[in-house]
């Protein structure tokens, strides 16, 4: 069966649209089906050539107990890592990182293949002037990231509130 040109074009557009969805699946899934949590946050620095200015965020409560910028899981493996969370006052903090998917929520599904553990919530894209202002505000005070996490540990960053 040979499809007509409009049919092939329509099919191509649908496949492309599905690919856009696939590119942002974890964030989309978290926003649609996830619960909202508060995490303490600190700034790092900014600019992605394709998407512009952003504030790179660090999460002090997702670090190892010694304060180093790792999860504290000292094994030779690299890949998917799970960060189970427990409530501590208003915010949520890491209990102990694991390579096995936790049986209870909430937890974050992350990746530690690069030098930084990536959980899909490390960047907040903003217009350039707002990014600079937020970075200053975050550095000078207590900031909270509002994050949605779904049942599979996919997380989406909703925003950052500065107190």
């Amino acid at each position: 069966m040979t499809l007509s040109t409009p049919a092939r074009l329509g099919l191509a557009l649908l496949v492309q649209l599905a690919l856009v969805g696939a590119a942002v699946t974890p964030q989309l899934s978290a926003r649609v089906s996830g619960e909202e949590y508060l995490l303490r946050v600190a700034p790092l620095d900014p600019i992605d050539p394709f998407r512009g200015a952003y504030v790179a965020l660090d999460y002090p409560d997702l670090r190892a107990a010694d304060g180093s910028r790792t999860t504290g899981l000292d094994d030779d493996h690299r890949g998917t890592i799970y960060l189970p969370l427990e409530r501590e006052g208003d915010v949520w903090v890491l209990t102990a990182a694991t390579r096995t998917r936790p049986t209870t929520s909430p937890y974050l599904t992350c990746d530690d293949r690069s030098w930084l553990v990536r959980c899909g919530i490390e960047s907040l894209f903003l217009p350039q002037d707002e990014a600079r202002a937020l970075e200053r505000a975050v550095a000078s005070g207590e900031a909270m990231a509002r994050v949605r996490i779904d049942g599979r540990g996919h997380a989406a960053l909703l925003g950052v509130d500065v107190e």
């Binding site: 099919l11 856009v20 964030q27 894209f125």
Partner: protein
Amino acid sequence: MTTLHPPRPASRHQIDWLTGELAHWQSAGWLDSRHADEILHSYRPTSRLSLSRLVLTLGAGFVGVGMIWLVAANLDALPPALRFGVVAAFWVVTTAGAEWLAGRREHTGSIPSPVVGAARSVASLAFGAVVFQAAQSLQVPAYEPKLVGFWALGVLVLGYATRAETPLVIGLGLAAGWYVWQVAWSTPDGLGVVLAFLVSGVVAASVATLHGRWWPDFAAPWREVAALLVLVGLFVAAIPEIGGDDVAWSASLVAGLATAGVLAVAAVTLGAGRAGLEPLVAAVLTAAAAGLVLWDPPNDPASLTASDVSHAVVAVVLYVAVAVLVAVLGVLHDSWRLTAMATVALVLFTTVQSFAVFARIIDGAWLFLLLGVVFLATGYGFDRARRELASTLEGDAS
């Protein structure tokens, strides 16, 4: 005989050839002068890189890149959902518009124009803008290589669905860029990057060979991308101390190797004629490049060892052989781009290697003299190989 159709475009070279042949056909009595004139006037000379093509290519590039930068500007006057809607509407309109233009040209049978290619370029870049806008609106972390991967896949889908070469070429460039970035991101090691280039080269060479049987029009872009990736990969592999001490076999690298292996076997089994050997050669070169990286001579600037010089000599000999091979492929497949690529690669490689390694043994003017002699000798060898191959092919054809 009356000319019913508007003159068809032909290059200056083709018209010169036709003029000579028409004179020959007249002298042989196959054609009278009136028919010869009518045939000649049914063509009009056109240059390959016309001004309109250049301007359209630049315009398409500016509009497409401008759209992506508009996403990057993160205009706060529009809410994220509306911004996504505007960018998505632009993508649908440009994609459908490009195909409408292509369909109109097909039906009217007019002179080929570069407008359709330019419109398809804009559509391909607009799809990237959609991916990046979606990612920005949903706060997907910065510098995420998979976004470029999805962009590449979408553009390749468009290329195959519309059977158009422009999205195919853009998609191949993006796919190669994504794979190398993905591997470098998860395997920050010289050998990983070298293997990423070469493995992509094997995949591209295999697909080119398979396209030789199915959709031969798509074989040339795949083959040219394969040649470029192999040349770049070998270039990187030959750089001293590029790093192969701590190889991490990331999932993307292993998946790439497995895909390349399967496709190479399929291409060698199903490929027609000599083209079946091309993926095999790319696979052998992948192993050779890995060997060059793992060799790792001391490379102490204070004292150059025999191992340093041997490493450089082997790298130069291998690279020259590969460049000649790419130039030969250019002749066999009638692709000036392959020949030009081989020449540029050879000049760049010889210059970099001369300054990186031989400058420490031979200094100043002597290095330039040696480099000049190397270029002359290589150029002579290149020309001889090309002439002999051309005369062999002519002999085979007659």
